[in-house]
Symmetry: D2
Subunit: 275 residues, 4 copies
């Protein structure tokens, strides 16, 4: 199979490093280190979010995630705190100095989210929401582009190309598992895709082992595999008490398990740099 | 596997019939007849569109399709005439009396398309664009909801539920093939899904054999199968000269082949009613 | 995508008609009629099998199916009566005059099954058991080749080619659903594949809606679709009391439902010939 | 989803270590080290095979692979040297002292292969060839069971259970990629499956990055990921001159690239043991 044409690749040969600005300085994603974005699936309440954020800062995480607008399959499910959660996230940023990552689902939230957070995430279901991609392309805000549930690598890179073409080079790819026939885990992590997009594209790539597997016991092995395969970072869900999480508790790590994951992947990352 | 819960189904037992208003009266979709929506993939120019529309009217089609905003995998592909094509479609409606079906991709086009066309189509890539679904749910405009490329039947019906919950009962489901490993055809038509959603849901369902197969030779056999399996109608691409179509020519029927398809599926539909 | 090369197609342009010999004359599969192979999933005991066989004969079925060696995912499941069931099937053939179809799983059963039954079935799991295919290719016995669960059309036709190349032209293809992400039905019937293999190959093709869907309510709609799409016949599971079947009861039709299916598909088949 | 029942797991809690006997002592697979099986896809001729075998011995490989009977999609492709290649492999074993791994495709080859090689491989296409599994289960010979192309984890482990139940505990699982919609690589390595089967089963598991990806550039990243995720070893294709290989050259490593892979995965394996 012949590689499809990535216009952006023709004039850019070196790898892109995305600078994520934060109160306490910048995080450089794609610079050879392992960047870890962590947090609960959804921002649920002020107390819990501030607590877990401070834990994550102390544990070494580089950015905070938190869902405000949760895309839910059923209209009857919990959909997140919405704008009310934004102030909670901003307070966490003030306390920890860590940059914020949240998903944008609706083009009409662009202005408020642009002002308030540091990385805008495009979820799997919106990977080919081309209107949204074009708007994001007009900014310089870092965008985390998740791979669609059944997107080919070509479609994923061409979705990124919508933003690159419109002028925004700060795009981070995120592999989060694809849909296959296997019922035991939520999705199938396409580990070879990590290495492949590093070769085809100049963009950094991270892996989300939490959504990909849907099972916390699989998160650390997949995270280790991701870094060993060359990923530039991870996005991981952490919750004080996964059992009482309002969404996706089964895939969330406890703080204790996060510490173990962190230590292990950093050792693999160190080994990578020495090889 | 236990059926998922469709709240809408609990208070509505009889099947929904969607009334599509048009200058020359109404089309009732889901009423036991075979409703055929036909037209080129994209509106390309005035002359061609008016010509094919008049042919389709004479041939017995019930509604006209035409793409104005084409969602394209690559940002470098032809994306449709956009608003400029809208006047052409409206002129075709005046001449033929047939209602218009076109895709809405951007929530910001809502007002203009609501005023101008008779059925708003939500494409596969936007099946879980929940903001868009919620806006469409606030209207009474008929919506054609295509199944996502890798959407389960549960996800598809719950996407419809977003609109039903918001108040719009005029939802038409459209099976258009799912993504599988088979490389020979573009997608795999899930024919059993037609029968299954007729049982699980109260909504009418049609099939798009053109996008599903990507090969014009397969369009008529799949259209026949769809009606035999109980579909309420079809959406079919027709082009005067498929070889010079700007998009998806390979899956478009010639006018001559459309006449054959029409005759054959109507005979199966007549047989259905007698059985 | 370029069609792969089917050597057999180069020297054989007309469609193959497979003659299935039986005590009461021959069944010609691929001759423009709808051939129906029916019976329970497994031969369970003499009384039941003889009863259902006589019902099927009276109802118009053209051949009897019955599993003797059931390939089961788990080694702890019921695996069929084995050779003990063979005499029961032969007795049914004597009584009804209908030819017998059963699956061969082990190359070492070749001699006994060759002598005893009229069509040898190669199941999905063995579609690429090339040793078995080559042995079957050395005979003239009709072979029913089921498509593998995730076999591409190319792989399926090339598996048939193993037998054609070895000298056996009496090959019948059987579409039985492919594995996709959809959890609601057992497999996804690839209805367009029916039309496609009719074009690419000269072999007749039938559809097994029972195994494909795993739900008896879907069997008749899919059977109707299959014949409308051009299939040469069906293989359908029927059981006196599906609830007490030792395997696959959920997908078996009752005798009453089989009569309805039979009548409906024959009407579609009659319509096909007049079109 | 509830775990399916693995009877073997109920009476065996500790992990199985498979002892592969060889002229120069035993290889223990599943003992915490990284075991590497390497060699060309097919044994092509004596000179090449002996040369590459000696290179692999010197490079640290633990066992030699070599295809004698190649299962090929098309009956017109090169199918391997068959029994003629067996003497070549045995000569390589004498010279290097390394044990031999080859695929068994036909139950009738059982006796000769049982006598001649040290690990019998069951390929993807035969994962549910239950007759073959039962025969292998009656021996004590180590068996390498590749996951079927679209086998669920449950089906894979239950296929292993056929051998365990029959009495052979020396089963090694091999993840080799599953079939998905992604056309760019041959298959999609299911990296989380490695961790999952280590938890559900007591059997050792290795990964074949060569067949899984079909692209040599992806072999080393995937091999690294496999060991980081907890795999007990690798099966890797190596060829002196991949460009002139009779089969699967595109996925074969050169000797030079194999040396790099070896060094890198051993460092990850060492890190694993220290964590």
């Amino acid at each position: 199979m012949k590689p499809f044409k990535l216009v952006s690749r023709e004039y850019k040969k070196e790898n892109t490093i995305v600078e994520i600005k934060s109160p306490s300085g910048s995080v450089l994603l794609g610079h050879g280190n392992c960047t870890i974005i962590a947090g609960p699936c959804a921002v649920e309440n002020r107390e819990d979010y501030l607590e877990i954020s401070q834990f994550l800062k102390a544990a070494g995480a580089h950015a905070l995630r938190g869902g405000l607008f949760k895309p839910r399959t059923s209209p009857y499910s919990f959909k997140g705190l919405g704008h009310a959660g934004l102030e909670i996230m901003q307070e966490a940023r003030e306390i920890t100095g860590l940059p914020l990552v949240t998903e944008i689902m609706d083009i009409r939230d662009m202005d408020i989210l642009y002002e308030s957070v540091d990385v805008l995430q495009v979820g799997s279901r919106n990977m080919q929401n081309f209107s949204l991609l074009e708007e994001l392309g007009k900014t310089k805000k870092p965008v985390l582009l998740k791979r669609g549930l059944s997107a080919t690598i070509e479609e994923w890179l061409l979705a990124a190309e919508y933003m690159l073409k419109a002028g925004n080079q700060n795009v981070i790819l995120c592999e989060r598992g694809i849909r296959t026939f296997e019922p035991y885990m939520r999705n199938t992590v396409d580990i070879a895709a990590v290495a492949l997009v590093k070769e085809l594209s100049h963009l950094p790539v991270i892996v989300d082992p939490s959504h990909a597997t849907g099972k916390w016991k699989m998160v650390t092995p997949v995270a280790r595999a991701a870094i060993a395969a060359g990923a530039d970072g991870l996005m991981v869900e952490v919750h004080q008490e996964p059992d009482r999480a309002l969404s996706d508790g089964k895939q969330s790590l406890t703080p204790e398990n996060f510490l173990r994951l962190y230590e292990q992947v950093m050792q693999i990352s160190t080994l990578n740099r020495s090889q």
